[in-house]
């Protein structure tokens, strides 16, 4: 595709979206609706070719798909894959009001699958491993038995920070007295975490903005 044409389209769309900084306007609305249409179709097309064709159609109709799925040549059909095909089609019944209740069966598969996958995985990686990683010595000594102040302080911050943060999330008891103070410290720890996330988000967005400004610069450079 012509590079100049790409630069012009890129610049026009960028300016249309940035025009929202002034106020909502028809150019922004046009770009916004274009984005919705293109991104939905893009995700559908990628999902179709990257997942449905090799994992479903390639298994059910290997002979038919041999030209587009490399591993399908000479393979016999796996009819068990009719099950996800039927459930997938049932999901689409949601588009027809009369048959929409059938989509619950497919939704039940998705919800049950998500619950079944997530329960052991979260239990393992986000609970047991995190608790295990917090079990660290509060007093850190070097090889000759001297106290390492910096490392000890950091370890205490980590352990107390996790405990205070968890107390803040513990809603079964009213946060009063000692618990109230600990919960308040938990909020401060969480604020530091949110601040760090906020800082990174700002950096990422500014980096994106810089990229857009560079694109506009390249477009202006192609004109003058």
């Amino acid at each position: 595709m012509d590079v100049t044409l790409m630069l012009w389209i890129d610049a026009a769309l960028t300016l249309m979206i940035l025009s929202f900084l002034y106020r909502d306007n028809p150019f922004y609305k046009f770009a916004e609706h274009l984005f919705v249409g293109v991104s939905a179709a893009y995700l559908m097309a990628v999902g179709f070719w990257d997942h449905l064709v090799p994992n479903l159609l390639g298994k059910l109709f290997p002979a038919l798909m041999s030209g587009v799925v490399p591993g399908a040549v000479g393979r016999s059909p796996d009819y068990y894959y009719i099950i996800p095909a039927v459930f997938g089609l049932l999901l689409l019944t949601r588009l027809v009001d009369r048959w929409a209740w059938l989509s619950r069966w497919a939704l039940a598969f998705i919800v049950g699958g998500a619950a079944g996958f997530n329960l052991p995985r979260f239990l393992d990686s986000d609970f047991i491993i995190q608790v295990q990683s917090t079990m660290i010595p509060l007093v850190v000594l070097d090889a000759s038995g001297n106290l390492i102040w910096g490392a000890s302080f950091s370890h205490i911050v980590l352990v107390l920070g996790v405990i205070c943060g968890l107390v803040y999330f513990f809603f079964s008891v009213e946060h009063k007295g000692v618990l109230g103070h600990v919960s308040r410290a938990g909020i401060w720890v969480l604020m530091v975490t949110f601040g760090a996330a906020f800082g990174y988000t700002v950096m990422a967005r500014i980096s994106l903005l810089t990229g857009r400004m560079e694109a506009l610069g390249a477009w202006l450079g192609s004109i003058f």
Partner: protein, 226 residues
């Protein structure tokens, strides 16, 4: 039947997947592998459902001449054109057997020329709104807002060359107060503590909710009525 069968399906799938995670041999493991594949395939149908729903909503808006209906035409045309290009691999140098995003294909052009600039600019808009949100947070003058913004400033400055330059004059004994070192310390310790508390909290929530869903106590996903 309209509510009981989905509950049975959820229970069977959930129990098989949990058991298959712990029992790595025999039929449970086979079922675990199969259900994992089926789960991935069915979730792709959700994209198709999303596309269908988008079509339905915007066609309705166009046919009823609702407010701003011409923009719905833009969405419909963009959606259908991109979909045809993507599904039939229009302009793909490798034909139907080529990579979906092959260099030179029309979908690649849509991705590089339309999708990428639009998404990057949309997200970069947030930089401006974040600046205004920070200003409002500063004005709030609460202890929590101050902690949040101080941490954010240390991270922002500590991760850029200007942060190192600003605190380069500090003596060796106070090197830990240099902004890059301070940013690293915040990321490694207090930030990890907060993240860990959140992760443990979320994990407990997910475990409880998953159990409620599998046992049929939580049924909101089925919607109301028969």
């Amino acid at each position: 039947m309209r509510r009981r069968i989905p509950l049975i399906i959820t229970f069977i799938i959930g129990v098989v997947l949990i058991t298959g995670y712990f029992v790595t041999r025999g039929p449970f493991n086979t079922l675990y592998e199969s259900f994992s594949d089926y789960f991935a395939i069915i979730t792709v149908f959700a994209f198709i459902l999303g596309g269908g729903s988008l079509l339905k909503i915007h066609l309705k808006r166009v046919s009823s001449r609702a407010a701003d209906w011409p923009y719905s035409v833009v969405t419909l045309v963009a959606f259908l054109v991109t979909l045809v290009i993507g599904l039939f691999k229009v302009g793909n140098p490798g034909g139907m057997g080529g990579e979906i995003l092959a260099s030179g294909s029309w979908l690649r052009f849509m991705f590089d020329g339309v999708y990428n600039p639009l998404s990057a600019t949309m997200f970069s808009l947030l930089a401006f709104f974040v600046a205004s949100a920070s200003y409002r947070a500063f004005r709030a003058r609460t202890k929590e807002a101050t902690i949040l913004l101080s941490a954010a400033m240390v991270i922002l400055l500590g991760r850029t060359p200007v942060g190192a330059w600003l605190t380069a004059w500090m003596p060796e004994s106070l090197a830990f107060l240099e902004l890059p070192n301070l940013a690293n310390w915040i990321m490694a310790w207090p930030n990890t503590a907060g993240q860990r508390a959140i992760m443990i909290g979320i994990a407990l929530g997910v475990i409880a909710t998953s159990l409620r869903i599998i046992l049929g106590i939580e049924r909101n996903y089925l919607g109301r009525g028969e």
